[in-house]
Symmetry: C2
């Protein structure tokens, strides 16, 4: 366990990825100092889905049981045609067979619920020091020492820096300097209180349902003990893309309705239940060949910002944290080798997830005409077991035992 004068690892960001890194390193006896830019701890956004690999990773990080308590476990993932209103495909995701293949069921969660679980665990660890109001704006390093500089002019020094500072990572900007890809995709998010749901739509509480349409999709899943239905509408129509980065901007219901007016009445019957919407511009970055610069490593969205179309953003951040902790254990005392191992094991796998996320958007969620017919023909022939076979590389691990790609 922790030794006197033991080196400290700095962590930029206290989102899911940053806390996961802190918990993982703490489980190996490594001290961390977590630097959060916001004035208080918390998560932005409402719900997310966690593939079975995420629950495996949360187990490794020591918070699996507490996380399971805040999850909702839907029976099926359902793919519907947003124009015809017909089902295209579905897969069971809490069946015995699913759990046998992937080790865990599919879960949906409120981001705040999972974040609270992780924050509570972090606060209980004497190895984790948590600071708010510390935006890491850059770093200096020299040999075995890294200094993280904050917007307020403070400096924190440690043996390494793990940058879990998200999609707009300052550390990545310094390390790699690449641009976010503005893809022209926009998301309209809302929460529907379950008591607003008419009787015929009870299945909203028990499925993740995705309505795929030309240049759009609509997805729903339950949150918070099914008291809420998370609703995300996505448009890839570039006419609607805001010119710059937008996260959580208000938008009128009428404007949202107009942008999804080409969907089936069944779809409209769902999204018109939402009290209000907020708008996000969706972006990603190209896979980066390197995430490590000396004693500085990227993690989570800072390392592999991806579109949400395979619901793996948080899952891959959790796997990163598991892999990093495992590498610290394996190469105890040798941070350089641990970082090198972490980078080697994670870059190819997460690049594949980034590429897959785009491809799923292009070929499954948003095609139209003959392209959509191709999707339907392929899925109509695919058995549940074949679908599971195709997902085993992605869902069948926890970050240590995961396939490289």
């Amino acid at each position: 366990m922790a030794k006197k004068d033991q080196p400290v690892v700095l962590i930029a960001g206290s989102g899911i990825g940053g806390l996961a890194a802190a918990l993982g390193l703490a489980s190996k006896g490594v001290k961390t100092t977590v630097l959060e830019k916001a004035a208080k701890f918390g998560e932005i956004g409402a719900g997310f889905e966690l593939g079975p690999n995420a629950l495996g990773a949360l187990d490794y990080l020591g918070v699996g049981d507490a996380a399971r308590d805040v999850g909702v476990y839907v029976s099926r993932l359902v793919l519907m045609d947003a124009v015809s209103g017909r089902e295209i495909f579905h897969v069971p995701v809490k069946s015995d067979r699913f759990v046998e293949r992937f080790g865990n069921p599919w879960a949906t969660m409120h981001r705040n619920d999972l974040h609270n679980v992780m924050l509570t665990a972090a606060r209980q660890s004497y190895l984790i020091e948590l600071h708010t109001g510390c935006e890491v704006t850059g770093y200096d390093q020299s040999g075995a020492q890294v200094t993280a500089k904050t917007a307020a002019g403070d400096e924190f020094t440690g043996a390494a820096l793990v940058a879990a500072d998200g999609m707009w990572s300052n550390v990545r900007r310094q390390m790699i300097g690449d641009e976010l890809n503005a893809l022209g995709h926009t998301a309209y998010r809302a929460l529907i209180p379950s008591d607003h749901i008419p009787a015929g739509l009870d299945w909203l509480r028990d499925t993740t349902t995705l309505w795929a349409g030309p240049k759009c999709h609509v997805i729903t899943y339950p949150l918070s003990g099914t008291r809420l239905i998370n609703l995300v509408l996505v448009s890839t129509d570039k006419r609607y893309a805001p010119p710059g980065p937008v996260a959580g901007a208000p938008i009128s219901n009428e404007e949202v309705y107009a942008r999804f007016d080409h969907t089936h009445p069944r779809v409209k019957g769902i999204f018109t239940l939402a009290p209000e919407f907020k708008l996000w511009a969706i972006g990603d970055r190209d896979p980066a060949p390197k995430w490590v610069d000396g004693r500085v490593a990227l993690l989570g969205d800072a390392a592999h910002p991806m579109m949400q179309y395979v619901a793996q953003g948080a899952c891959q951040a959790l796997e990163d944290a598991v892999c990093l902790a495992h590498a610290f254990e394996t190469w105890s005392g040798d941070i350089d080798r641990a970082f090198s191992e972490y980078e080697k094991r994670r870059t190819v796998r997460t690049a594949r997830v980034q590429i897959l996320s785009r491809a799923v958007g292009e070929h499954i969620y948003h095609p139209c005409g003959p392209h959509a017919d191709v999707r339907d023909a392929i899925l109509s022939r695919m058995s549940i077991e074949e679908f599971y076979d195709r997902m085993i590389w992605l869902w069948g691990g926890n970050g240590i035992n995961s396939q490289a790609a």
Copy 2:
């Protein structure tokens, strides 16, 4: 067989697709008039590869044995890294197991050789009338009669028109009016006489070898009894894309060498064997939902112009012809139903091939950095049998028994 006053089907174009349509319809006793725009019959371009589905289709069309006589049968398809010079993956394509799975071996042919086989067969059929110097520029139709209008001002009237007039189809322009996608990909084609090949490169005679590199690939395969090696270099670097359509324009060897200067010395050792190069701009079109307008149907590149990256352009044209002939047999005397069946069976399948061709270029032939690492990781895990499993939908039929997608 042919009856007096039997209706004639007009065919625009006497390339592989047009002759295949004529031979297929003749085998069902249907008279055709083939209208070729060029002053004499022949094929443009040098070699092509024929997947096993093509030989199955040629059998159906009655020219399988003659076509086999002009084929070369390579042992393996080999994927190499154009930068490192190392092998990424290979598959046997004339093994017993390959033939057991797909019914035929992989073949490579000189276009003229296959065209001659088909032209000879067409000339021997009293049901096929062949005209040169007749460029079909458009059509009129009324009920059960179609008039094809030619550039010279002639008119040909028949019961139907099958437009096999290629990538720049005039008939498609009238029927659909879509634009060719200028993708910024350029191809540099050459023929290497085999007696120029040094001893260490003997494998050029017995493989299709593709060198995949960042924004480029280089492919070789033998032709004409291995007396020639067909060489195609492709660049996706948009700086090299000509502003308009280009087919067979001269380009200096030095310019080609400069564009592929980032490849491994092993690759350079091959392409510098070519006496001279010609330049093509590569394009495709988006899959079309409809190919039939009354008594007019598209076929081959006119129907589904695709990039050559899965070597299926000619193969799908042959499948089209088989499917069309089969539909004429099934719905004897009912051209409308035959066309409808043809369209229904072919649009989704060929849309998938068009989409696959792009995806293979993007994810297998031209990726770089982590994207290429993902490709390598996936292929390093893939068994030969798994590869065959993935190709069975594409290679495992002849146009009648092929999967819709």
